[in-house]
Structures are given as structure tokens and as C-alpha cells.
Symmetry: C2
Subunit: 141 residues, 2 copies
């Protein structure tokens, strides 16, 4: 499902409201087309672009609950996020030494995971992370 649809549906289901702020934040995240942190959002919106810090925090939480955005456990000081729709098209490979993250495709695993059926649990997305050491870091050792 598209991110905008998800938002509309989630708001309706939970009797929440459509606001300019939510819409603008989602637009930005869609256009951004990549990984981002809370700082990315704050730096863009808080100083000049009409959305206060508080709304950024609160609405990012909402996007997470609504499955519009996923959270990635990348190393480093900042938790990173990505549009769920975008994250569904690839997985991530992470160097535990330098923190470098690469996207890769794996249709086999994707299909296998999508075929799972759990009792009473409805799957929406799945994420795979492969940890290891990249070539640059291997040379250093």
C-alpha cells in the first residue's frame, strides 16, 4: 500500500485528524527517498519550514505506528528511519566496524518470508540485516 493511503486509513481507523503538518512531513520523507534521522527532519522543518520540533517528534511516532516508516538498527549514535514502502524493495548489509550500510536485493528470501503464516499475526513488512566486515575495514586489520 502507498504511504499516503496508509496515513489516511490509519487516521480514519483511530479517529485522528488530517493536518498540514502530517501531510508536509510525509511529503518530505517521500521526496527525500533514502535513510534519515530525526535530525534530518528537525533541521529541515524546525527552523524555517513551519513545523515545530514537537510536531516532528509526535508525528514521526505516529508514522511508525501506522507502518509508514520503519526504524533501522544501524550502528552509530543516531537511529535511522526509512519509508516502509521504500524499505520493502531491498535489504541492508552493515559493516560493524565502520558502520557503512549498503542496500542489496534478495527476491528469494523476500518471497520466503512473505509466504509465512502466523496464527493470529498479520504481517505487514519484513526487514533483513546482514552484519559483517566490509573490504575497506578488512584491509586495515
Amino acid at each position: 500500500m502507498k504511504a499516503r493511503e496508509k496515513l489516511e486509513r490509519y487516521l480514519k481507523e483511530h479517529e485522528l485528524r488530517q493536518t498540514m503538518e502530517r501531510s508536509a512531513m510525509l511529503d518530505f520523507i517521500i521526496r527525500l527517498d533514502g535513510h534519515f534521522s530525526i535530525s534530518t527532519l528537525l533541521e529541515y522543518f524546525a527552523p524555517t519550514n513551519h513545523i515545530s520540533k514537537m510536531s516532528v517528534y509526535r508525528n514521526l511516532d505516529l508514522f511508525l505506528k501506522a507502518d509508514i516508516v520503519v526504524m533501522h538498527p544501524f550502528p552509530g549514535d543516531m537511529v535511522m528511519y526509512e519509508l516502509a514502502e521504500r524499505a520493502e524493495t531491498h535489504y541492508h548489509r552493515i559493516c560493524t566496524q565502520c558502520g557503512a550500510v549498503k542496500e542489496f536485493h534478495d527476491t528469494k528470501t523476500s518471497k520466503l518470508l512473505k509466504s509465512h503464516r502466523f496464527k493470529g499475526f498479520t504481517m505487514t513488512t519484513n526487514q533483513v540485516y546482514i552484519y559483517g566486515i566490509c573490504s575497506k575495514c578488512k584491509k586495515k586489520i
Copy 2:
């Protein structure tokens, strides 16, 4: 590889030192046998058990780099951690509504992921997360 071996090897390779604090922290994490947050460690060590806040922070970072511990992107305010060795035996299923996390087994996917070969990238661990809605939350809607 066992966690303790990993630590020894990592320390040697990076010319770092074995200390009581590192050893005690690893012991605790092994005995704990589950998910934990920084608070879990701080609450145990900082007040009474002889390891200062600072060493907890610094050594947890080291454990992450040494692949002794992995970080999980579970919803909620706290980033969670788990002994890598333990995390290798199962994957995680997460409810995006209430944040409940269940462990599940999937040898097929595990084998498939382990069989991957990347140019210049040496895999150490892999993690799979399945997001969705659990039965309890479905009833509420």
C-alpha cells in the same frame, strides 16, 4: 564463536586490554539470557555493582563493534540489545501497535541467508524482523 572468545580476540586484534569491568559486563549479559537495554545494565551495575555509568556506555559500544552484542530496532523509547550468539538462534516478530516482540524459528531463511556470498564483505550475523499486528491489537480495532 562464543562471546568470550570473541571478546578476547577483539581485544588482542585491537591492542586493547582485558579488564574486570568488561568481563563482569559480559558475564551479566550472558546470564541475563534475553533482551536488555542500557538501563538494564545501568540499574544493575551503576548503583552497587562496581561499574560506573561511563564504563557501561563505553564497553557496550565495544561489545557492539566486536559483534558480541546486536542492537534491535524494537518500537518504543529504548533501543534493545541481545547477545549475538543468542540472537543467532531465532528471529523476531514485532507488533507495531503494542510493541510486543516474539521470537520465532526459521531454519530455511537462516540457511538461505547464510549461503549468500558478497564480494569483499564477510558476513558474521544476520537478523530478520517481521512487522505486523498481533491478535490482541486486531481485536481492539
